[in-house]
Amino acid sequence: MWVRFRWIAIIWMTGWLSVATGQTVTMETKLIHATDRPQALDTRLDDIEFRLRRIFQFEHYGFLGESRSIIILPSQTRVELGHGYRLNVQARSRDGRVAADIEWYRGTDRLLSTSVSQRRGVPAILGGPPHDGGTLILVLRFN
């Protein structure tokens, strides 16, 4: 009984310390298919579509997939985006922000690689690769 309690306390303390030191972040990705072909409105894009419409001139935005993972910085993470796309993210904490080296793959082809520094909660918009008559947009955010 005492051993079990000790393990729970250790896990709780580890989690608390991670949160307290600001080293734990939630990485959220959203893969979007932007096209001029009609698509049904998707409520899963409610938080970002109105911003995208201000930036781009696509008529329709379709939801392709999303992921959410909790990572402790520094960390290297692989995210399967679906439809043959994946993301490799090497993230670390720097000056109160999250610095991330991002590689976006389609199969073995590297579509895009970049290094960014993001404030938590502020999304970065990646995109451009063609997909099914439209264009892919990837929203990456650390919370």
């Binding site: 970049t114 290094s115 404030r119 451009g128």
Partner: protein, 166 residues
Amino acid sequence: MNRIKAQKWLSCALDGELSASRRRRLDAWLAEHPDMVALREDWTKLGVRMRNERPVSGQTPEAAWQDVRRAIRMPGQPVAMPSDQKAWRLGWAAACAAVLFVVSAAWWGIQAPSPAPVARADRTTVEWVETDLPGAMSMVFEDETTGLTVIWVLVQENGEDTGDVG
């Protein structure tokens, strides 16, 4: 005394705001100017008329609004009232409706998602970008309206690129 000054004093006298000495001077001046006496009579009649057409007092705005609400709740039982009082209450109802509309619109504006631009210090910074796609080039731009940073790959497809940036 010129005519403009006399008109000012006449207006003050009709409102009861002219001192006794000035009133005596005005009366003396009016005795020599019968056309201004006619003007004084016109203004007096106008004042009486305006006072008679003043809205019925004793009705507070709150009471008027209660009447409107009661009329809305009971559409089959219109509130009987004199025509001038009705017009006055309708005016209040229109004013209240306008206030409600403005408050609702303001509230909706607060609640509706607005693309508030990201503060400059919070914006994403990009150190470098590369792409391995053949014939493609990368670009980075910051959208001023949203404050978001966009990292874009321009891919040439049959002479056209995939850029559809606003």
